[in-house]
Symmetry: C2
Subunit: 437 residues, 2 copies
């Protein structure tokens, strides 16, 4: 919808039609955990704009309940089925924007398609899960996958009074973070009573209809629960893209969000984004990137020349009282790319020690030793971690070195930071490590 | 002391001597309001390191109670008086670092040198003021000057149960901020019961010894109180610098913190700093800048080649529940420099609306219309304002344009920001204003 609204903004007279196979557009998918936890009682509170709003205020035709079956690229037509009456109709276009999003990846073991097995991607999924929780009042849930979605739902279930066991296939949770930072998150989760099992190979899920429960068999033994949530990541929905044969591959675009087919743009979770630090396209689906890409695709489709500036792999999560955030490359990612790194890790206070309410922040800065260039940063702590990571964002965007960054004129006031903010404190340690060589 | 410690770090064998006319070194001057408010009971809590610590752990000789009378630049000698025994001695040097700081400016009206008139700069001043408050239990204080020091002490006095009237000579408080942002601070202060009078010309202060109170006469009438605090800014202490004839002028240095005299460095509040946005040296004395300059001066004096990267005019203040912060140029500063500007002002939420605890943040971004370059930013709000201003810091350092900054990959998680963080939201408005021309 951000693409459609941007196209309208740059071209007030174009005919703009949106096909949506479900009932909802423009909703806050990131708010679903708050609906599941009970903090947000009404699912309508997650709807940002209704189809009606777009029709009325933006003159954008929104066809909900319409499944696009095929794109006829040469004829520049879309073939769509009206799910209500089953009718099929073609619609021609000048420009087409693919914003088909992503679908949950479900671990490839038998039994995960049963009744008490859930994935959560859209509002329908959320309602289905919530109805189950309301009606059956389960006492214990299993989460398959310790990425940020699994971690957030662990908190949501716990807030709803449901005991949680989280199974992670790797040897640490939060694959997008390095081990030291993930360990802080794991400790907080365990402190709240979440059982976390790592290095787990799933084998099979068995449903027990008499007890309305299930057992997940793994190499580490059996895990019993009332229900499970698969949170094993997502895969781009690319099947509508003409000429695509491989499932799970993002639709390639350039920095104007144009695909290889003339007149067809793609944006959001169905496509990839250029990571400016990695120097290549990566699949890192996030709402904020999707929104920006949507604007760029919409503006270009509407006749403007707009560019998407690329991403840095920034991400923030709040888990219980803890904020964790990252930007740029992790050590693990840098290593995979064959880069040599220096890694500074510090733990330093969030505020001057003579004002109350401060707490320690753990910071990790990853540096290329030959150039001194900052490659990435990660932080964990109770206060203002996400916005502190954002300070690194324009540093990375501008390829700053530690030497230049360490004297940056970052704000200081006792109630918001110590004289040496954790950001600069860790950069200072990195600088000392570089000087020692 | 940051200069001395840095010199020691780069040269383990040098003889390092510090002359300090008072009793304390290395204390948190920014913590004094917390001592006055009663939050920090013990003044020793503001002392970071004692002279003993430096002697013992860093092999730095600290001569407290020693007033430097003169620097003999040709002979490379310092003449100092021991305040305890009155003896005068000369001491030679290879490198000398001037870190003489700043002195309070007192408004030039008669009567401000009396008994119940205070300035607060160092721990001695703080103890003197605190003793007065303890012993005389005054009910009403006047603050002369609505800069950030005046504003912070207004809160400190109020927390101590003292009614406060603040007199400001300009037509808005917080001269370092633009009118719209200062107005938000003023409203919060008034909401807490601080009386704020603006456009006040001071004429005279009259002490009443029988009532132990005083009257400040102004063109707007008489203001009565038990005591007053002058908070009308500070002036660099430059008198020791050989060849200096003008009071109140910062000691000029280059980016290695070298003065025009060989072997003499200067750093901190006695000197100026190069403002990277303004493109010139400005006097903007702040602890964080002083600390960084001290490190650079110390490293250079110790034989290393270190550069100070300049400042951006960043500043943050917390006043009651409100955080305000700035970086770069204000509109007023840009106008004084003859620059044309576009100014985007937005008020937008700090968090996603479906999570509790969010609040509006007012953001102002100042842009050069011809280039689209961001010249400055200011923010006010209840949450994470200081660290959000810091996101602008590397943008300004790297002379980013609005166009490049508006798609920066800034973090998003519902509990820490909405999908469009106030930083990007305001940049987006600036971009739309630029596009409309």
């Amino acid at each position: 919808m951000s693409a459609a609204a941007s196209a309208r903004r740059v071209d007030p007279s174009a005919e703009i039609v949106v096909f949506e196979q479900g009932d909802h557009v423009s909703y806050a998918a990131c708010g679903i955990p708050y609906y599941i936890s009970g903090l947000q009682k009404d699912i309508q509170g997650l709807v940002v704009y209704t189809p009606d709003y777009f029709e009325r205020e933006r003159n954008i035709r929104v066809l909900t309940g319409h499944e696009v079956l095929e794109i006829e690229q040469r004829a520049r037509r879309v073939i769509a089925r009206n799910r209500q009456d089953g009718s099929i109709a073609a619609r021609s276009y000048d420009s087409l924007i693919l914003a088909t999003g992503a679908a949950p990846r479900v671990p490839a073991i038998p039994g995960l398609d049963g009744e008490r097995c859930f994935t959560v991607r859209d509002l329908h999924d959320a309602i289905r899960l919530n109805d189950y929780l309301d009606n059956e009042r389960p006492g214990h849930g299993l989460i398959l996958g310790g990425g940020w979605i699994g971690v957030i739902f662990a908190e949501a279930f716990l807030q709803r009074g449901i005991r949680v066991t989280l199974l992670e296939k790797e040897d640490h949770i939060l694959a997008g973070f390095d081990r030291e930072i993930a360990a802080i998150v794991e400790a907080v989760m365990k402190g709240h009573g979440v059982a976390v099992e790592k290095s787990v190979s799933l084998r099979e899920c068995i449903a027990h209809s008499h007890t309305r429960s299930l057992t997940v068999k793994t190499q580490k033994g059996d895990f019993h629960a009332d229900f499970l949530l698969s949170a094993a990541g997502v895969a781009p929905r690319n099947s509508l893209m003409p000429g695509t044969h491989l499932a799970g591959v993002p639709i390639p675009t350039d920095d104007r969000m144009r695909t290889s087919h003339e007149g067809i743009y793609a944006c959001g979770d169905c496509t990839s984004a250029y990571n400016l630090v990695a120097g290549r396209y990566v699949y890192h689906p996030l709402g904020t990137t999707a929104n920006k890409q949507g604007r760029v695709a919409g503006e270009n489709a509407g006749g403007r020349h707009a560019l998407f500036g690329g991403i840095l792999g920034t991400q923030a999560v709040k888990v219980f009282e803890l904020e964790v955030a990252r930007t740029g490359l992790t050590s693990a990612e840098a290593k995979k790319m064959g880069l040599k790194t220096i890694e500074a890790i510090t733990t330093s206070p969030s505020r001057a020690r003579y004002v109350p309410g401060g707490s320690p922040i753990t910071t990790k800065v990853i540096v290329e030793p030959s150039s001194g260039r900052i490659l990435g940063a990660q932080m964990a702590g109770l206060q203002e971690v996400a916005k502190r990571i954002d300070i690194f964002v324009p540093m990375l965007h501008n390829r700053m070195t530690v030497r230049d960054a360490v004297t940056l004129d970052i704000s200081y006031t006792p109630q918001c930071s110590p004289l040496w903010d954790p950001v600069l404190f860790c950069l200072r340690k990195a600088q000392e490590m570089l000087e020692r060589g």
